[in-house]
């Protein structure tokens, strides 16, 4: 499986994402935000956490307009896999690849802690290795993770089984406790929690491994 991790000047989870993907067997390259093209023959693009452009204006807004993001949208439109974590989710929502927007946490504070997530669907390359309804432990670290979508969007997400994860105990005011959503073709996942920080029991949780293993396995076969 060939993967690329997008690097914006303020990305700070890019290395963590590369490590997690490599640990799961992917062949990973980093791509710079000023690049207009992705490497050839790519299966997955990961948009990592951080503060892409200082999170000025709105989180992810400036990044979503960068040259590389146009290439990421094209990749997704061709049916390629895209994973956006934390700031990456914010970027994806700004590009419109996943529905909704991420607003300031309801508590108004940055929040870093390990939270319980319920796996809502097994029907995606990202979640295939979890059992539906199971609870996994994954860290969050964000100031703007409060998921908002219109009522129609929420209905569509539910009826199409596109909510990937919900918080067991909603930490940030997200609508319907949504922590991660899938695109209509189920090949783009945006999520606020950091599965790449849950790769090793020594770090407190290894529950993120299944996401990366399933993703790498699935796309390698495909």
């Amino acid at each position: 499986m060939r993967a690329a991790v997008v690097v914006f000047p303020g990305s700070n989870c890019d290395r963590d994402m590369v490590v997690a993907l490599r640990q799961s067997g992917a062949d990973v390259a980093k791509v710079w935000h000023k690049d207009a093209d992705l490497p050839q023959g790519l299966d997955l693009v990961a948009v990592p956490g951080g503060f892409s452009f200082g999170d000025y204006l709105r989180c992810g807004a400036i990044a979503a307009q960068s040259p590389i993001c146009r290439a990421v949208v094209d990749h997704a439109n061709r049916g390629g896999y895209v994973l956006g974590v934390c700031n990456g989710f914010q970027v994806l929502s700004e590009t419109g690849l996943v529905p909704g927007a991420l607003m300031r946490n309801s508590g108004l504070k940055f929040l870093c802690k390990t939270v319980g997530l319920t796996v809502e669907t097994q029907d995606s390359a990202f979640t295939a290795a979890y059992s539906q309804g199971s609870e996994i432990q994954v860290p969050i670290a964000h100031h703007d993770g409060n998921y908002y979508a219109t009522e129609d969007e929420l209905k569509a997400l539910d009826s199409e089984d596109r909510v990937a994860f919900r918080y067991s105990d909603n930490p940030n005011g997200s609508m319907s406790s949504i922590a991660g959503v899938l695109s209509a073709n189920r090949r783009v996942l945006g999520m606020m929690p950091h599965p790449e920080r849950a790769m090793d029991a020594q770090m407190g949780s290894a529950d993120g491994q299944a996401l990366f293993r399933a993703l790498v396995g699935q796309t390698t076969q495909a």
Partner: protein
């Protein structure tokens, strides 16, 4: 020429910062504050004769997230 873009959360979108400011005002003893909405103001210094349609495009493509925000444009 100058363009002032006032960006507000759309009606109906919960504004936790506005809520916090409202409760802080209440805490300071100011009564009768029915609601507080917090937005942002963006000032653009533009070349004379910039097409207003182009400014609208700036708003739609970058300055405003139409999912949650609305804006008002004042050109002087």
């Amino acid at each position: 020429m100058k363009a002032i873009v006032t960006v507000m959360l759309k009606n109906g979108v919960l504004d936790p910062q506005g809520e916090a400011v409202k409760s802080a005002l209440g805490g300071l003893g100011f009564s009768g504050v029915n609601s507080v909405r917090q937005g942002k103001l963006i000032e653009l210094d533009l070349a004379e004769g910039t097409d207003p349609a182009q400014i609208d495009e700036m708003c739609n493509r970058l300055l405003v997230n139409a999912v949650i925000e609305s804006y008002q444009l004042d050109i002087t």
